[in-house]
């Protein structure tokens, strides 16, 4: 079965970790993840500048490693990202900002990607909350 997974919470929220655990379990169960979509505060997971305390799980780093290792399509909502200062090279140049903090494997794109993912997948599962 195909899953689309949308993450609405930042990497320091327990629900981001739950989304990661769910995604890992879905792949381990032989299912497919057609797209991960990071929306609202979820875009902070894509920032290369997140520094987790040493005694805590670095959820942003785990997301990055998971997406790279599994070759997943990880889309970050561009409107949500820009207003939170999460920019790739192209956007940092466009808005003349001093740095970019959204490297591969993440990709900035629009909300239409969430809509498409919801249509193409068998299940859309959203994660947010405490």
């Amino acid at each position: 079965m195909k899953f689309a997974i949308a993450v609405f919470s930042p990497p320091h929220a327990p629900s981001s970790r739950r989304a990661l655990r769910f995604a890992e379990a879905a792949l381990a169960g032989g299912h497919e993840i057609s797209r991960l979509f990071f929306y609202q505060d979820g875009v902070h997971s894509a920032s290369a500048n997140v520094v987790a305390p040493q005694d805590e799980l670095d959820v942003a780093a785990r997301w990055r490693a998971f997406i790279s290792e599994q070759g997943l399509d990880a889309v970050v909502c561009i409107a949500a990202a820009l207003r939170r200062g999460v920019l790739d090279d192209e956007e940092s140049r466009r808005y003349q900002r001093p740095a970019a903090n959204l490297p591969a494997p993440w990709a900035l794109s629009g909300l239409g990607q969430l809509h498409e993912a919801a249509q193409l997948a068998d299940r859309l599962v959203c994660f947010g909350g405490d």
């Binding site: 079965m1 899953f3 609405f8 327990p14 629900s15 739950r18 655990r21 769910f22 890992e24 379990a25 879905a26 381990a28 169960g29 299912h31 068998d122 299940r123 859309l124 599962v125 959203c126 994660f127 947010g128 909350g129 405490d130």
Partner: protein, 98 residues
Amino acid sequence: MTTLHVIAHSPFADNRLASCLRLLGIEDALLLCGDAVYALRPGSEPLRDLQAMNLEGRLFALKEDLQARAIDGGLAKAVDYPAFVELSLHHDKVNSWL
């Protein structure tokens, strides 16, 4: 058409759980995770609301969130992540109360 409802907020902070219970279809299921598992705290009003709903076989809670808060699942069946994945496939839709 059945729905798996997922709640992740404490029932003592807002009325998501009460709203969800009002809308819950007779074949729908409810998964409590994160702070929502506090709804299972013995003697609490949310637990009485859940007990009054006859949710046998349709009420679930994430095992690690129960353990992290030292709450006995009791009324709810404790599930791990592979079981969460299966639950989401067993129902036609997953509705997260964000």
